[in-house]
Structure formats: structure tokens, C-alpha cells
């Protein structure tokens, strides 16, 4: 009788201990992501659906992988990147951006898979060059700089490159020189 009672008591204790141990894990799991960050949507509502959508999107992003990688990148991939000015290039932004590209200059591909690009163009009344550096394999961008030209110089265009300095001509006449190492305009 006493042994049976002790078994029951120990069993209850085991349930309690397991519950205490698991509760923080369950609670923590529910806290990560939009479901925890956007609480309280009433069940069955559009709000609840929108929160669920955001949670799924979050989970997809946290689970994303690169997929199978076969061999070293250098063996699998040989992008043809030629240093120089490119006249017929795509804007760095999506089609609905207000940035209007004149032309661009790009570096050769570095040993680390990076390429630097300098875009010349206008954005509304602003004349500017935009400098980016991309890791081509991953699509990651490591640098983004907007460098504005003086007001009302007119549409800029890259017209020359030599020893790490780009020449920028403008529609109104003056030209500028962009030092690529320091990203300074002269």
C-alpha cells in the first residue's frame, strides 16, 4: 500500500518536473517571429491570417539554405566581367525607381568574387553617382554610397577611367573626377 502510494507520488513529481522543464522551451518557441511580435489577433480574422503569413515568411527565411554546392565556386562558375564603362546597362534599382541611369563603370572581378560598380545618372532634380560593391556569388552588397554632384550641373555621364580615377562629364559642361579608393569627388 505504502509502496503504491510512493509510486503515485513519484509519478506525479516526474510529471511536474517534466512540465517545468518543457514549459520554457514551448513558451520560447512561440515567442520568436511575428506570431510573438504581433499578438492578439482574434481567431478566424484577416488579422490572424496576416500575422500567420508573416510568421511563415519569417520561418522560410530562417530555414533558407544555399542548396547543394558542387565543387569550389571557381570550378563551377566563370563570370565574364570586363573592366570599363558600359553604356547599355541596367539600372541598379527596380523598374519603378525614379533613378535614370546614364551609364556605368565596373571593376574586374576580384579574387574574392567582388565587383565594384559606379552608376551615373539622375534622380529627379539630383545629379549623382552611386557606388556599389557586390559579392557576385551571393548577391550580397557590401557597400552603397550616393555621391551628389553640385546642383544643376546637368545629366552626368562617365567618360573615362584611368589609374583608379573616373572622369564624369556633365550636360552643362563641367567635368569631375572620382577617386575610387577614397570615393572623393574633385
Amino acid at each position: 500500500m505504502a509502496r503504491a502510494r510512493r509510486t503515485v507520488v513519484l509519478g506525479l513529481l516526474a510529471v511536474v518536473v517534466a512540465g517545468v522543464a518543457l514549459t520554457p522551451i514551448v513558451a520560447t518557441a512561440a515567442l520568436f517571429g511575428p506570431a510573438g511580435d504581433m499578438p492578439g489577433a482574434e481567431p478566424g480574422t484577416e488579422k490572424e491570417k496576416l500575422v500567420d503569413d508573416a510568421q511563415r515568411e519569417y520561418e522560410r527565411a530562417t530555414r533558407a539554405t544555399l542548396g547543394p554546392i558542387v565543387g569550389r565556386p571557381a570550378e563551377q562558375w566563370h563570370p565574364q566581367i570586363v573592366e570599363g564603362i558600359v553604356e547599355d546597362a541596367d539600372s541598379p534599382f527596380e523598374g519603378n525607381s525614379t533613378f535614370v541611369l546614364s551609364n556605368l563603370w565596373q571593376s574586374r572581378l576580384s579574387a574574392h568574387g567582388r565587383v565594384t560598380r559606379v552608376y551615373a545618372g539622375t534622380d529627379g532634380s539630383r545629379e549623382l553617382v552611386i557606388v556599389t560593391r557586390h559579392h557576385l556569388m551571393t548577391g550580397d552588397r557590401e557597400l552603397y554610397r550616393e555621391i551628389e554632384l553640385p546642383r544643376a550641373v546637368g545629366r552626368p555621364r562617365l567618360s573615362g577611367s584611368s589609374a583608379g580615377v573616373l572622369t564624369i562629364s556633365t550636360a552643362s559642361g563641367p567635368s569631375f573626377r572620382l577617386d575610387l579608393a577614397s570615393l572623393t569627388l574633385r
Partner: protein
């Protein structure tokens, strides 16, 4: 002796189980007096520019803060720019929704680029219901704003950044800014085209600071509590982070009774997401002296009011402040 040991062991089991039940049930069984300390505040921003560089830098700066939660970028009043939808910005030139979308994408990129260990933030791309000139706060503008937000959200997800930045829409909705009809048209327009929530950063100008939840109390400019509740919660995508600026707790009380009205009269349970203060903005440019709650004061006032009544009691998730310059 044996019976006594059994009894004490049983008492121990009961005590352990009681402690376990208290630990598990505690958060759900929130009592009116149990108000958590304010979390670290996030910093939202009144936007005076659509510069891509400025947005990139802002995203970069926010990622280094490492504070999770809502960050609203508020672009001013709805506007027509070259015949298309846009916003006025604050003291900057008007910007189209395309310019704002491009800028917001740069915020995301900056947030992504500048820290590998930044927590997830809720990026709220917001306008207001303030009428810059007639026929700007419209159904069509609301729909255009939803498309702008969806575009930025898709861009963010396509690049794998959704675990860092949760993009949602927003609006600073105030009764003093505009009438009910135009504001509701804008909100319904947003709801007609959205796949994202609409975080409202609302005030409840002139709404009652007491009540039984039965009477639909009147607020300023012809609004009633039900109208404020609609923009904040009843509208399908709406999520509220109300303005709790006043040092007197008057705004916190207004939201307590708006929530009570929803519960008693409409059987709807609004969950307020957090409290918005303007302490940083006041320090930068000044404001009416009794509207400069610190983030912690705003949070404590709102949490205190909501949890003073078991019917309106709830945990408050976020503390948010807003800035002009930072």
C-alpha cells in the same frame, strides 16, 4: 511517524504542483496589478527625405542599436505628386510612392548590411490621415499605399531578409487631422489591396476618459469611440500602437475606455501592441510641455490603465519613441 512523513511528503507534492501551476498559468491569468516593466524603446522617425543614402544609413544605424520591435518611418501627409500617389514628407519635397518604396528598400538593405546579429524589427512604412489639400486622403491612395508596402515586403522576402525585417504598413491616424469618412475610405482602400497589416499610430483626440462601455462616447471632429476603434482594430488589417504623449495619463485613459467599449458593446477584444511616445522628438524640436512622456512613462501609463480593469487587462508588447533627427 510513518503517517506524518507521508503527510509532509504529500504537502511537498502539493506545494511543488502549486508552484508549477502558478508558473504556467501566471502570464495568462494576468491580474490588474501585474504590469511588466517597459521593454527597451525602439526609435521611429519622421521622414524629411526620400534619399536612398539617408535611408540606408538609418537602417544601418538602427541595426546597430539591436533593439527589436516596431520602427515606423512616417512620410507625412498623402499627396498627389506628378498626378500619382505620394506623400509630403516633413519639410522635404513631396515624394512618389515609387520613391518611398525605393528608399524603404534601402533602409532594409542598410539594416541587413550593418549587423549580423541584429534582432528582427517591424518596419512600418507610414503616412498620416492629415489632409494636405482636398481629396488626398482617399480610397485610391490607401490602395496605392498597400501596394507600396507589399512591394517592399516582397523585395525583402525575395532577398531572404524577412527574418530580420518584417515589413508592414502604417498610418498616424488622428481625429483632429481629418473627418471619419475620408479616413475610413483610406483605411478601406488599404484593406482592398493589402497583404500586410496596417499599424495605426493613433490618437483619440477628445474621446472620453471614463465610461461604462455601453455608450459610444464622442471625440473631436465628429468622431466617436467606435470610429477610433475601427481605425485602430476593427478594420481587418489594423494593429494599434497609440500615442501616449500626455504627462497626465489622459491618453492612456482614453484607450482604456475605447477598449472597454469594444468589449462591452461589440464583443471585440482589441489588443494594443504598445505605447508610442515622442520624447526624443520633443527634445529635438520642442513640443507642448505636458506631452513629453518618456517611453517608460508612456508604457507605464498605458499598461497601468489597461490593467487597472480585469476586463481590459493585457500584456503590452512594445515601447516605441519617435525622432526628427536620429
Amino acid at each position: 511517524m510513518g503517517a506524518g512523513r507521508t503527510c509532509s511528503r504529500r504537502n511537498l507534492v502539493v506545494r511543488v504542483m502549486a508552484a508549477f501551476v502558478a508558473a504556467v498559468v501566471g502570464p495568462a491569468g494576468l491580474t490588474p496589478s501585474s504590469v511588466a516593466a517597459a521593454p527597451p524603446p525602439t526609435l521611429s522617425r519622421y521622414m524629411e527625405t526620400a534619399s536612398l543614402q539617408a535611408h540606408y544609413n538609418l537602417g544601418c544605424e538602427r541595426s546597430k542599436r539591436k533593439v527589436p520591435g516596431p520602427i515606423a518611418l512616417i512620410y507625412g501627409r498623402p499627396a498627389l505628386v506628378n498626378g500619382g500617389p505620394g506623400a509630403t514628407l516633413y519639410s522635404g519635397p513631396d515624394a512618389t510612392v515609387q520613391q518611398i518604396a525605393a528608399a524603404a528598400r534601402q533602409f532594409v538593405q542598410g539594416y541587413r548590411d550593418c549587423s549580423l546579429s541584429a534582432p528582427q524589427v517591424i518596419l512600418i512604412i507610414a503616412t498620416t490621415n492629415d489632409e494636405s489639400s482636398p481629396e488626398r486622403v482617399t480610397f485610391a491612395h490607401g490602395a496605392a499605399w498597400a501596394e507600396l508596402v507589399d512591394g517592399v515586403a516582397s523585395w525583402t522576402a525575395d532577398r531572404g531578409y524577412a527574418s530580420l525585417v518584417n515589413v508592414q504598413g502604417g498610418s498616424d491616424i488622428e481625429p483632429g487631422f481629418n473627418g471619419v469618412a475620408d479616413t475610413r475610405a483610406w483605411v478601406d482602400g488599404y484593406d482592398s489591396a493589402n497583404s500586410r497589416l496596417l499599424y495605426t499610430l493613433p490618437s483619440a483626440d477628445g474621446c472620453p476618459q471614463s465610461g461604462d462601455g455601453i455608450v459610444d462616447g464622442s471625440c473631436n471632429n465628429g468622431w466617436r469611440q467606435r470610429d477610433v476603434l475601427y481605425m485602430a482594430w476593427l478594420a481587418p488589417p489594423a494593429m494599434p500602437i497609440p500615442q501616449i504623449y500626455t504627462n497626465t495619463s489622459s491618453q492612456a485613459r482614453q484607450w482604456r475606455y475605447i477598449k472597454l467599449y469594444g468589449l462591452v458593446s461589440l464583443s471585440r477584444t482589441m489588443t494594443i501592441q504598445g505605447a508610442l511616445s515622442q520624447w526624443t522628438a520633443c527634445a529635438e524640436r520642442g513640443c507642448t510641455s505636458d506631452t513629453d512622456n518618456t517611453p517608460a512613462q508612456a508604457y507605464d501609463q498605458l499598461a497601468g490603465q489597461l490593467n487597472a480593469d480585469s476586463r481590459t487587462a493585457q500584456p503590452l508588447r512594445w515601447s516605441a519613441d519617435v525622432s526628427w533627427r536620429r
